[in-house]
């Protein structure tokens, strides 16, 4: 018998390389028109539905503001009772907070230096709180912790130029510096004195099948003694004035007897952005786009089982784990690319529409792709779609039938979010943590909050995304294990 002629390819002997496998799977994906159209449809749906959502959303937050504009243009609330006198140039204020009523865990009693009594103007304050110790705060966003002690406590603020330093002490003799803040552009003349604030208590109420979150106003009283204001430059003797700054929910008051001030105040000094997340609204179409992604991801593997082509695939590549890995990479990368185009386009196109509908500064500062959270939301949405594609692939590899895999993935992604809207908040939060539906949280540019009832606002973006990734990983791992054990 003559031996067969050995086939000598013009190309050097190709190794059994993973790169070739990726190329093979990419050829499979791009050569079925339906799948390509499915991916494109996902992008189109994402963009179109996002634009529809943007067009259908409106707000009157700027017309009926429940906020004032802070020093850096952000919406804030600035309500408290202020006992103050003018200060020109450098100086300091010292006081001992003797008692503080625990009207709310973040109620504040302390000393403050403020540009003026206009609500929203720049300030620096050092205060004690019933549950969170001493805090040095400034311009609504800076919050430096001091000691964890509570009343009685000595507090001091010292101004030098535009720089303000806060100190605390247990006895009025040994002072500890808490921190220094810089108030750009602080004028010579400022107001300085004592203040009391008391934020509203968050109430969660369930009625008629839905939960609502509200705020019950609180009011607290604190007593101050050993109050002293010192000025570097001699000035005219001043008298204390007191008033409610901003729109305090309850009228505050202050009385003085023998050097002891009793001050009652209510209200909150904090950022107060309206809860709507314009970035999430503009990426919202991904809810619909993902349906096409699930279908393509599942079909990418189940179609091979249906027609028996899986045998050809495994005969060409007996190392089945690598086939699964190659498929996952190809579908994941392709979906990510499509997703990026979709999410960037949707974001850019939706912003002007949203601005026209009232989502404009100052209530809603313009989001820009150069900001971390916005970039996280936009890129995160593309990543979210890519992980869904891989999750679908894993489900398809496990179940081997398209009907079951598609239904299971869609159910796990959408149902928990829908059901969560009728359940109490704690149950809703739990659902977001244990099901892949939590992945929608990656679309938010704002932080999770207790004040909203939409389920995807309850968990952090990386937490939610992590849950989705865990589901995808476990499904793939199970599929990997079963693939090698089962007959083709």
């Amino acid at each position: 018998m003559e031996t067969t002629r050995t086939y000598r390819p013009a190309v050097p002997t190709a190794r059994d390389s993973f790169g070739r496998l990726l190329l093979a799977e990419w050829t499979k994906l791009r050569s079925v028109r339906r799948w390509v159209l499915g991916l494109l449809a996902a992008a189109v749906l994402t963009i179109v539905i996002s634009l529809l959502a943007a067009a259908g959303s409106g707000t009157d937050a700027n017309q009926e503001p429940d906020f004032v504009v802070g020093p850096d243009g952000q919406p804030v609330v600035d309500d408290f009772h202020f006992v103050h006198q003018p200060l020109s140039g450098d100086g300091s204020v010292t006081a001992r907070v003797r008692t503080q009523e625990n009207s709310q865990q973040w109620a504040g009693a302390g000393v403050m230096l403020k540009e003026s009594t206009v609500s929203g103007s720049p300030y620096a304050a050092i205060m004690v709180t019933p549950r969170h110790g001493v805090r040095l705060r400034s311009n609504f966003t800076t919050d430096l912790p001091g000691s964890a002690d509570t009343v009685p406590r000595w507090l001091r603020l010292t101004r030098s130029g535009t720089s303000v330093t806060g100190y605390e002490s247990a006895d009025g003799v040994a002072w500890r510096k808490v921190g220094t803040v810089d108030l750009h552009g602080l004028p010579q003349s400022v107001e300085i004195g004592l203040f009391v604030s008391s934020p509203p208590e968050i109430t969660i109420e369930r009625q008629a099948g839905s939960t609502s979150v509200g705020g019950r106003p609180t009011s607290g009283t604190a007593t101050f003694d050993h109050v002293q204001v010192e000025a570097a430059r001699p000035q005219q003797p001043a008298t204390w004035a007191n008033e409610d700054v901003g729109r305090s929910p309850a009228r505050g008051e202050a009385t003085e007897a023998g050097g002891t001030f009793t001050v009652t105040g209510s209200g909150e000094i904090a950022p107060n952005p309206p809860p709507d997340d314009v970035v999430q609204i503009s990426l919202f179409g991904a809810f619909v786009g993902l349906m096409a992604i699930v279908a393509v991801g599942v079909l990418f593997i189940t179609s091979e089982y249906k027609r028996g082509m899986i045998r050809t695939t495994f005969a060409a590549s007996p190392r089945r784990g690598r086939v699964l890995a190659a498929k996952a990479i190809v579908i994941g990368v392709a979906t990510f690319a499509v997703g990026m185009v979709a999410s960037v386009t949707a974001f850019l196109l939706a912003q002007p529409i949203l601005r026209d509908n009232g989502f404009a500064p100052p209530a809603f500062p313009r989001p820009s792709l150069s900001e971390g959270p916005v970039l996280r939301a936009v890129v995160g949405t593309a990543a979210f779609l890519a992980v869904i594609a891989v999750f679908s692939l894993g489900a398809g590899a496990l179940l081997r039938r398209s009907a079951g895999a598609i239904s299971a993935v869609i159910a796990l992604l959408l149902l928990p979010a829908i059901i969560a809207t009728v359940l109490p908040l704690s149950a809703a939060r739990w659902l977001m943590r244990v099901t892949p539906a939590g992945g929608f949280a990656i679309q938010r540019a704002k932080e999770p909050t207790e004040a909203l009832v939409e389920p995807w606002t309850m968990i952090g973006p990386w937490t939610g995304f992590g849950v989705l990734c865990a589901y995808a990983a476990v499904t793939l791992a199970l599929a990997f294990w079963l693939l090698r054990r089962r007959d083709a």
Binding site: M1, T4, A10, T27, S31, V32, T312, P318, A488
Partner: protein
Amino acid sequence: MDATIETRNLRKCYGRTVAVDDLSFTVTPGQVTAFVGPNGAGKSTTMRMILGLDAPDEGTALVGGQPYQRLRTPLRAVGALLDAAAVHPGRRARDHLRWMAHAGGLPRRRVEEVLELVGLASVAGRRAGGFSQGMRQRLGIAGALLGDPPVLLFDEPVNGLDPEGIRWIRGLLRSLAAEGRAVLVSSHLMSELEGGADQLLVIGRGRLIADTSVRDLLAAASEDRVLLRTARRSEAMTLLANAGATVAATDREALTVSGLPAERIVALLSERGLPFSEVAPHRASLEEAYMELTRDAVEFHTSTGRET
């Protein structure tokens, strides 16, 4: 690589059904080996075990002395056509071969070469869903030949083909074997393999019934049988039966006589003066020989209303 397929004591059960039982054989290069047996005999299962797709419960299957899983570039070593319908209908024929080439580490130009070889070059850009049965088989064969492998497995390649297609495949298999490759073809129809196979592996109910060359099988089945054509059938039948032969009527004018040598038959007939037009050694057809062999192994007999 040594172009052989070897199985040793292969066994596979699906639940309580024993699909393959203690199967051992060797397929050698240079000839077409036909794997034949009734439907459900275990042929496809065996082929899948050789390709490492199904895991045997016991025993081993080796290609070129190695299990399939250990081959570095399997498509260069073994080419297989298991199911011609295993193509996505929405995919173009060329793309189907292309992904196989990529997965198998083969150069792209092989795709065009095999398309030429099987005669599908003109329809390579068409989607496989629009292919006829014959074109699909050709596509499957093209895929098997992509790596120009020394070992080839074809599972029922002529299923559903027209006579011209069957002839083409037979010729192709022969030429592939003549190049020195090992070719294993499975079939459940003997007539298609007539003239196409050299070695037979006959399998029934999962067991190997015969491992023989076609020539030997035919010879064994044809022994002692003589074809007799005569117009005076009944008289000839009685005469020969009385002489101790077993006589069967084959059709209107022909008789098959076994148990007497041809000269003796001629002598007997001449004695009586019975005319006859033909006395010839009966060449059993492969189909007859095979039916003999597998009569007990057919699991799903049909029943005819009457014996014709």
